[in-house]
Amino acid sequence: MDIEQFGREIIKEALASGAEEADVLIQSGRESEISTRMKQVENIKEATSEGYGIRAFKNKQLGFCFSSDFSSMGLKEAARQAVDLSRETTSDQFNGLPESEKNFVPANLDIFDPAIGELSTEWKIDSCLTMERTMFDFDKRITNSEGAGFYDGETTTVLVNSHGQTHSYKSSYCYLVCKPVAAEDGKLQGGWWYSYKRHLDDLDSPENIGRIAAERAVRMLGAKTPGTARVPVVFDQITGTAVLGGLLAAVDGDAVFKKATCLTDKLGQDIASPLVTLIDDGTLKKGLASSPFDGEGLQTGRREIISRGNLKSYLYDVYTARKAGTVSTANAQRDNSSLPSIGSYNFYMQSGDSDFERIIESVESGLYLTGLMGSGTNPVTGDFSLGASGIWIEKGKLAYPVEGVTVASNLLEILKNIDMVGNDLEFQGPVSCPTFRVAEMTVSGTV
């Protein structure tokens, strides 16, 4: 099937059914999953899938329909239903496609690697077995396994709209993960580590992933619950993304317009420590969240959200930008079964100049935070409260593992109190950050 041709046909059908404007996002792809456990193959899964979602505007009203039926009857039905549903909604002057973009230059983002699709099943199984073997060899207290896995996929994304524009790109990903279980004195501690990339050559070696995963599980054995205190907290590259995630919800232009975030009316203000620069980049080469165009067909770009502590920008899609009297930042995220909604691309904190060791040494007594649990950021108030585990720092040294605590503060306080930023930023997912230190947070444990 020619996907672009299908896209043009369904748009034609929507216009024939009475839509004044319409766009469709189509995705077609393949996914595969292989996992081993206790040195044996456990699961193999493979599939191809495709689907589309069509948006129809009539009298500035919005209807939407998604389907995976690519037959000519399915196409007609979906187009007609999107138009029919639009009649049920309120006419809204801000609804509609973006202006036709004349200067669209598709960027080469290097997010597709054909080598991934050519990998043999044997090679994938071997990578998983190597991760598990390395993890078991690392320490005899690794006694069990939740398995090791290799996941990969490829997707073609096409967007066609009634301005006569057709955009498309191909992307791929590969993901290795290893999940050891360590045991001592009848107590279990799970751990995990992974590597997630667009290109096969950029994946970390199975040996490294297995070793790091084992280290992370073993170092939690014998974890204690410390007393309640206000102390410095060092976020690692994983736990720090929870702060960035909370912030993302707070810079969502839709929530900002509704005055439903703690960053409402804060544009241009210093809301974070001058050490903090946050970037949203849809054009990062090989970026896991890079994409040449957004869910409404606008060209993506790179944008500073916080520059040396100063709030520079919110994120907008076309509708919200019109409502707020500004322009879209091309942050409409969309897949084949959803309407566009505001979201980020590669969202990250820029590296600072502190070595990891210096950050740990700087803490007299505090927490090196390596695990977070729960869903504890409230974008309306900025309240931040999550279950936590990690390593207690005593006199500048990693001393002993802790669990059963919560860390609590407010997003804005955390941002202001970041007083050291590491030089160790790595892109291992859509949201990334270096190690950073927050001068003081409440860590609650026993008494």
């Binding site: 193999i44 409260s385 919560t406």
Partner: protein, 498 residues
Amino acid sequence: MIKQVFSDTKIAKTMKSGFESFENILTSSNIDRLLSTALERGGQFAEIYAEYSVINGISLEENKIRQAQAGISMGLGIRVIDGEKTGYAYSERFEMDDLVKAAKTASFIASGSGNIRGEINITPLAARNLTTIEIMPDEVAVSEKANLLRRARETAHNKDKRIYQVQASIWDGVKIVVVANSDGFLAGDQRTMTRFNVSAYAIEGNNRQAGRYGGGGRVGFEHFSKNSPEYYAEEAVRQALILLSAKEAPAGPQAVVLGNGWAGILLHEAIGHGLEADFNRKGTSLYSGRVGEKTASDLCTVVDDGTIPGLRGSINIDDEGTESQRNVLIEKGILRGYLTDRLNSKLMGSKPTGSGRRESYRHYPMPRMTNTFMLPGNHEPDEIIKSVKKGLYAKSFGGGEVDISNGQFVFQVTEGYAIEDGKITYPVKGANLIGSGPEVLKKVVMVGNDLKFDSGVGTCGKDGQSVPVGVGIPTCKVSEIVVGGTEIGGDSMMGKGA
């Protein structure tokens, strides 16, 4: 064959075309061909899972019906089990060529000589219908749904001037699933789901707070005659206003009274996940090998029951075709059993418990909860509050999470109050409860007589798969849980109560 399965079921309007595709493709000879292909390289068990699903959604933002949407998804997954190994493939096209290809892909997991079997004789089982839906959501006009949303908005604004923003949405869906396997049966289920959500934002000075409430379940639109949009809106407003006056939660270990209903999420996180058979077979759960042991206080009897009409976690059959049932997990403190699916029950020598669930045809099933709750005790809720000198009354919760290996769980209190000298004194915000499952359940010292289920909004995630679940609990007192918050030494910030 499909007709026989659903002979007593009224097929929903939006399911008609999916039902026809099933009838055409899932004939006795096609099923036999797919299962035989799946087993041609060996393996003990093969299964076909077909699904056709339609969802509808409509949302309101302030005075606008912002959007209306509909979506169809369909697919067929084929699974082969060989010992502990699973092969899985799916297709979204209901054409025999594509399906045979999927069966071949799934078959590669097995490595042996093909099974020599005769034709698989498939017996159709009549579908069970535990819940009666009176008004199918797909027969309700979109404009009528929009009116429910407008009523919610009006109510919220009329309730209090401090409400400055209201959003509401209705989602409903119908899904038909069909399961056929090499043990020789064909089973099916038509599942309906309805859900209503309201968010209300309140402001006072610079203090902004959001209140959210919603509900539904395996119900049709008759649900709204008892649970009106006004009711949902008032509850969202009430929560937002309470938060406006809430103080920071005092941190540290303290007595906690769990409110009845949604606080059952504690059971879900603290023990439910730990009793899922996959973790226990692999020995990665702290409950592994502990059936018959005392794991909770005598007052605790915890049940997972997928058969309760109307609840969000209820299913007639699970996604492997096993009928749902009532499973006692903990009886008077003693661990009685695990929640299991076909793969794990076979490997562990037990019987499936109707707990093999999956998000969609894109996934293979695993042991999951349905509706998890604690049976009532004999204390009046008032007595329980009165017994606490100083502590937290945790009435409503946000999300929770558990680490299966060490049992550590956390969940967020969205509506909580300080208890001082047996009285509820002031609302608190920003509190989290954290602890280990078995430790907390051993500290359950009072159980109320007021068991209630949640309003029908729970979704449980595991290994990237989401399934709808229900939870329930009576008012309960736990002698001590660590409360995370921002205020240390609660005494210094508490006003002297009258």
